[in-house]
């Protein structure tokens, strides 16, 4: 099955657009991916170093409030904290909208799709309201710069990022035999070690045991985080001695290089290649992917020691990737992005909406569709199964959005009879073309196009 521009734009991009032509061939898509990240330059999302409010600021105002309890300053510290938390909420909203605007206005959406895929692979979730605005900086720092780079670099960046260290509780873990462990009687927290093996690296069928998880947890001791300093290494927390994880012995030296060395080594194991290859194929092509596609992705991963530009190229090289069967369903965030892209909504119309419109037309609907923004249930991220999303409730959420929200983002809705071709290309099913013509209003017609299986399946 040859390259198909429609599939390139939908299965590997953020959808068809009246403004941006679909990619001309796979080489052009890979060349763009290898080139500069123009979209991020045009629509920036700050990393942790410059995010406002900073984690240190959030910590300061929270501590000040606790300290002031029962004193005359209580009211004032309370008010300051409310302002800072409101700023955090605005930041989260703005960055969520910027992420959507990137997908809507990117020349081709491959980098956006890969960023979403890898951000999901290394899912972080805010544990409380003061961290809600830190997910997008994590993606900006640890994921996006590496989607066309090395998987090992991404693993190191993600694992040692303050937001991951916080989310999977690495900052609480210390070696029971370490100085600090001996002094306090505290010990290991296995959370990050387990998810690294199970989700990020070799996968749940990667052949590791509980002993490997414990060894990995001991190996990670010392890795920590401080709101002011960022990622830190606390040698006094590190479990003494060398660790053996999945049959390989890692350095006994108590410093960060032991951790990054082990991560880079695990990142290029064949089990990791197989796990990542399978996930990529499932995400982009099918819940039950062609075994040969998976094998060829894993082989390219191994041959290039995890060069993700090469692995993405291998995906686009394989005939199974271009199967005309559209068995995947757009995830709610991608559904919304693709809809706004087909409507040619300019970036500032998206990023500029106020909080109320955000709740009505973005945040609220995504929740009803089953995807509350940046809040999957656990570190395994969002489901890949079409049936998870197209439930009565999830579909009701999509229908409701498609009928009512598009008009909020454009001055005038397109003629639905044109829009059906814009959104779907020449292959719109006859019954859809007919239904669109029979709709009572432009809003209904546009809604029918967006709710059609032909639009939602990629």
């Amino acid at each position: 099955m040859p390259f198909d521009p429609l599939i390139a734009a939908t299965r590997f991009g953020t959808g068809l657009s009246p403004v941006h032509a679909p990619p001309s061939d796979a080489a052009a898509m890979i060349a763009r991916l290898a080139g500069p990240d123009e979209v991020a330059a045009r629509l920036p999302i700050p990393g942790l170093a410059t995010i406002q409010p900073s984690p240190a600021r959030v910590q300061d105002v929270s501590r000040a409030r606790i300290k002031a309890r029962g004193t005359p300053q209580a009211e004032e510290t309370d008010a300051i904290r409310r302002v800072v938390f409101a700023e955090a909420r605005e930041t989260q909203q703005r960055n969520a909208l910027t992420t959507i605007a990137r997908g809507v206005t990117a020349p081709d959406g491959l980098r956006e799709r890969l960023t979403a895929f890898w951000a999901d692979h290394f899912t972080v979730i805010a544990r409380n309201g003061s961290q809600n605005h830190l997910v997008s900086p994590f993606v900006a720092d640890a994921i996006r710069p590496h989607v066309a780079g090395s998987f090992g670099d991404m693993v190191v960046a993600a694992t040692t990022h303050p937001v991951m260290v916080q989310y999977l509780e690495q900052f609480r873990s210390l070696g029971p035999q370490s100085r600090q462990g001996q002094r306090t009687g505290k010990g290991l927290n296995e959370n990050l070690a387990r998810e690294l093996l199970e989700l990020h690296l070799v996968g749940v069928n990667g052949g590791y045991t509980q002993a490997d998880v414990t060894q990995m947890a001991e190996l990670l001791t010392g890795l920590s985080y401080d709101p002011t300093e960022g990622t830190t290494y606390r040698a006094g927390w590190a479990e003494p001695g060398a660790e053996v994880v999945m049959g390989r012995r890692y350095s006994a030296k108590a410093d960060m290089s032991t951790i990054t060395g082990a991560l880079r080594d695990l990142a290029v194991r064949p089990e990791t290649a197989a796990h990542v290859a399978h996930k990529l194929a499932v995400h982009f092509v099918s819940e039950t992917p062609d075994p040969d596609l998976v094998a060829s992705l894993a082989q390219r991963f191994l041959d290039t020691r995890g060069d993700l530009l090469e692995v993405s190229a291998a995906l686009l090289d394989h005939p199974a990737a271009w199967s005309p069967d559209r068995v995947k369903v757009r995830r709610p965030d991608l559904f919304l992005t693709a809809a706004l892209r087909a409507l040619a909504v300019p970036a500032d119309r998206i990023t500029g909406i106020d909080r109320r419109a955000f709740n009505t037309h973005v945040g609220g609907p995504l929740k009803l569709m089953g995807q509350p923004i940046e809040k999957p249930i656990g570190p395994d991220g969002w489901s890949e199964a079409a049936a998870t999303w197209i439930t009565p409730q999830g579909l009701a959420g999509r229908i409701g959005w498609a009928l009512r929200s598009p008009q909020h983002f454009v001055d005038a809705l397109p003629d639905p009879r044109d829009f059906v071709r814009t959104a779907l290309g020449p292959l719109a099913p006859a019954e859809l073309t007919f239904a669109v013509g029979a709709a009572e209003s432009d809003a209904d017609g546009v809604g029918l196009v967006l709710t059609s299986p032909a639009f939602q399946r990629i």
Binding site: T209, Q210, A396, G400, A438, E440, P453
Partner: protein
């Protein structure tokens, strides 16, 4: 194309609108029994040892230096309820709430939430997803089921009900307002894709039912507004579940998250157990007389380590507890066989040793409530399960 053309064209496309499931009211037959089963999945692994504390066990206090805070409510010489479960004490004393201790699924050693929940909901160690959830297999094994018989409620994935047997899924906050014309056209555009068609069919049926109910309540006056305080998300789920269970629905399932208490468990678990208590009390209040025909099972993927960890929490373990409630079960007790907490008694010297299979507890409840054959339970619902002896918490 004009509106008149639409009708002609519709006929030409061979799509019989008169027979459209989206515009024909769906007949909702009653379930084949009168009893109700509510399964609440506690995602994140509830620490059974802290929820239902064996304060009479000689090793308990040593293992739990900070969690044993002396604030538990004794319910026997040996057992005490976590403060977060104290609101359930009146139910407990009335024999309408209890627990089964030292139970687990057959999952061992992996201690992964995701696998643990998959096994709990699949009801079997095989979790390739092909066989659906155990509540779904139960539905498939009994003739006369309709989609309305079982409801998965809320925005979480409920794998426990997934599978080929029809069931409904809804979240209380969804509404679906469609003009008659859009309804007809959607029927047309979604028709060829079964996934979309079936989801839309159910969505419309549920939304129609809800709007009728809401209209009736509006006419009934403003007393619905009298509730004190804003109900939590779980109370809304419980309220919605009860509204369905008062009608045709016989099985409802939803989840409560937030049990993964790796640190500072005293604060975290109290909050989550209070939400569970609220949920159970809401079900009791909203179900009225039907509460006497109801069994509520609160199941979790596994227990937690017997020892506190270094961060005043507990890590992933094995044996845990199932909390239950409802007038259709015999409460006021901690059932199950207690293995003790000495080093030798622990599983891998680390976790509470499971002495019972939580699936057997659920299997016996289904036998008791729905009259299922032992054979159906141990071959179809939970393939290969040894049901064991009839437990003491059945009526």
């Amino acid at each position: 194309m004009d509106r008149r053309g639409f009708l002609l064209q519709g006929a030409a496309l061979g799509c019989s609108l008169a027979a459209s499931p989206l515009i024909t009211p769906v007949a909702l037959a009653a379930g084949p029994w009168d009893n109700r089963l509510v399964v609440i999945v506690l995602r994140g692994a509830m620490d059974g040892l802290d929820a239902i504390r064996p304060v009479g066990d000689p090793d308990y206090a040593t293992l739990r230096p900070t969690l044993n805070d002396g604030k538990a409510t004794p319910v026997s010489d040996f057992w005490a309820l976590h403060p977060g479960l104290a609101p359930l004490l009146p139910l407990w004393q009335a024999g309408e709430a209890g627990a089964v201790h030292a139970v687990s699924t057959p999952y061992r050693d992996g201690r992964s939430h995701f696998d643990g929940q998959d096994i709990l909901e699949a009801g079997t160690l095989r979790i390739d997803g092909g066989q659906g959830g155990w509540l779904n297999r139960m539905l498939g094994a009994v003739p006369g089921m309709t989609a309305e018989t079982a409801f998965a409620i809320g925005q979480d994935r409920m794998a426990i009900l997934a599978g080929p047997a029809p069931y409904l899924r809804w979240s209380p906050e969804v509404t679906l307002k469609l003009s008659p014309q859009v309804r007809r056209l959607l029927e047309l555009t979604l028709h060829e894709d079964p996934l979309f068609r079936n989801a839309a069919l159910q969505a419309v049926a549920i939304a129609d039912g809800l709007s009728v109910e809401a209209a009736m309540q509006d006419e009934g006056g403003a007393d619905m507004q009298m509730e004190a305080g804003r109900p939590g998300a779980e109370s809304a789920l419980a309220r919605f579940a009860a509204s369905r269970l008062r009608e045709e629905t016989r099985i409802a399932s939803f989840s409560i998250n937030g049990w993964d208490t790796h640190q500072n468990q005293r604060v975290g678990l109290e909050r989550t157990l209070s939400r569970l208590s609220d949920t159970i009390l809401t079900l009791r209040d909203e179900l009225g007389p039907i509460w006497q025909k109801t069994a509520v099972l609160c199941m979790t993927e596994f227990g937690r380590t017997a020892r506190e960890n270094g961060t005043r929490g507990t890590d992933h373990g094995t044996g845990g507890a199932m909390i239950y409630a409802g007038g259709a079960l015999r409460g006021g007790q901690v059932a199950g066989r207690w293995p003790g907490l000495s080093d030798q008694a622990l599983f891998e010297q680390r976790d509470v040793m499971p002495t019972g299979d939580v699936r057997a507890a659920a299997g016996w409840v289904m036998r008791s409530l729905f009259g299922l054959d032992a054979d159906v339970v141990s071959r179809v619902v939970f393939p290969g399960l040894d049901l064991g002896d009839r437990p003491e918490f059945l009526l």
